[in-house]
């Protein structure tokens, strides 16, 4: 059965996120992801509150990075969470957002190696091993927890470029793909499958999740209005190759980038075209979103993650997904 995940950004206060988390769990979502950026509220505090107020939903950081947070600390936090709610915790690990990290003076160097080493260290530490690790990015001389971590914790690797996607397929129990359009998902899944093959695993061994920018409303205009700001930022941050794949005029993308840089929101948002919305979000009425999700599933994903903005009214949007979308995929 298709899994549905939901992403929350702890820029929102904890009580809103927990309210929605309880609602999502009751509505049939199986996974909950909380983003990790230094300029929002802390991911592990938010996840701890989630653990206390929910009963069955699987949750984890979506995603943390090894530059800002040392993988030994990540292992400690996740292992502790797994004591609180055994079997419900997963780790989402990626290379991090370059712009955000540079803002705190952290350089993103050797991202593939950093992620691979971080996952290695995480698995050894949460496996209760005494760790001596001499990697190209991380070095651990002698680390062991003074408590016994419980169980194996699945690791999802967040990936976008072809090499990271391959690595994710090779080392991950799951992969989080930042993509909304079937063309991009298909492209990504091919790279992931190559990694799965290299890792000597079967495709079903790896949960491949499309981490989407999502907006649903019965009124298409309202759904679109909510998606526009998020899509503007995605377009501004996308490489030319990706924009060209969707036939997006590079000049228009550059205009949006310049407007965002100048904090001219209205100019930036007015530059977002329907093509951009279609390429970089899953947006529309419940029926339209259902059709798009069905296409993405055909492209090879096993989990669909509903990400920001979710809708103009998040509570209503979760109800729509619960009542009109998820039931379409129950077989």
């Amino acid at each position: 059965m298709t899994k549905f995940g939901i992403e929350f950004v702890p820029r929102e206060p904890y009580w809103k996120i927990i309210y929605y988390a309880i609602q999502a769990e009751r509505g049939g979502f199986s996974n909950l992801w909380v983003t990790d950026h230094f300029n929002n509220r802390n991911v592990y505090v938010t996840l701890t509150a989630t653990a206390v107020y929910t009963d069955k939903i699987t949750f984890g950081p979506g995603v943390t990075n090894p530059y800002m947070v040392n993988p030994v600390f990540t292992a400690q936090a996740i292992a502790t969470l797994n004591e609180l709610t055994p079997g419900r915790v997963v780790l989402g690990m990626g290379a991090g957002d370059k712009t955000t990290l540079e803002g705190v003076g952290v350089e993103v160097e050797k991202p593939l190696t950093a992620v691979q080493e971080a996952v290695d260290i995480f698995r050894k530490m949460t496996g209760g091993e005494s760790v001596a690790y001499n990697g190209a990015v991380f070095s651990v001389t002698n680390a062991k927890f003074l408590f016994k971590p419980k169980g194996q914790i699945p690791v999802y690797v967040g990936a976008q470029g072809p090499k990271m996607l391959e690595l994710a397929g090779k080392i991950g129990d799951g992969v989080l793909i930042n993509a909304c359009h079937p063309k991009d998902v298909e492209y990504a899944v091919n790279s992931v499958r190559e990694g799965i093959r290299q890792g000597g695993k079967k495709p079903d061994d790896v949960d491949v999740a499309a981490y989407t920018s999502f907006s649903v409303h019965e009124d298409l205009k309202k759904a679109t209005k909510a998606a526009v700001p998020v899509v503007a930022f995605i377009v501004a941050g996308s490489p030319g190759m990706l924009l060209e794949r969707h036939g997006i005029d590079l000049k228009k993308a550059e205009e949006i980038r310049a407007a965002l840089k100048a904090n001219d929101w209205s100019r930036a948002f007015s530059g977002v075209s329907p093509e951009m919305i279609g390429a970089f979000s899953v947006c529309g009425t419940p029926e339209m979103c259902t059709d798009r999700i069905a296409l993405l599933l055909k492209s090879g994903i096993s989990q669909f993650v509903v990400g920001s903005p979710i809708g103009s009214n998040v509570r209503e949007a979760i109800n729509l997904i619960t009542e009109k979308i998820i039931p379409q995929f129950k077989t």
Partner: protein
């Protein structure tokens, strides 16, 4: 020795205690058949409010516990929701109560806002 800070802290907790009593009285005035519809409106006001910083964590925690136990539509749930909604969106609460034709409750809320 009681310091100025201690006195301020005591005053704050007394105010919160008094406010809680006021909200309890308010929710007691609401007929049971309107609990569900009012609860729904108040939740929406709270979750869409831009005045997040006005939410006291004690009240937020009560709301979450009630939501977890599926009892936000009870009198206890309504008390917490009323308190939160009036702190975050006082004018919108008055509009919602008027829409539900709860004139006496509206008047009590207006009195509470004056005090």
């Amino acid at each position: 020795m009681v310091t100025v800070k201690d006195k301020e802290s005591t005053n704050v907790s007394n105010r919160k205690g008094r406010i809680n009593m006021d909200y309890r009285k308010l929710s007691e005035m609401i007929p049971a058949e309107k609990w569900a519809v009012l609860s729904d409106k108040l939740i929406d006001l709270i979750l869409t409010s831009k005045n997040d910083d006005r939410m006291p964590s004690q009240v937020a925690n009560v709301i979450l516990r009630q939501w977890q136990n599926e009892s936000l539509k009870s009198e206890t749930g309504l008390t917490a929701l009323l308190q939160a909604a009036i702190l975050l969106e006082p004018e919108k609460v008055v509009v919602s109560l008027n829409e539900l034709q709860m004139t006496n409750v509206t008047e009590q809320v207006k009195e509470l806002l004056k005090s």
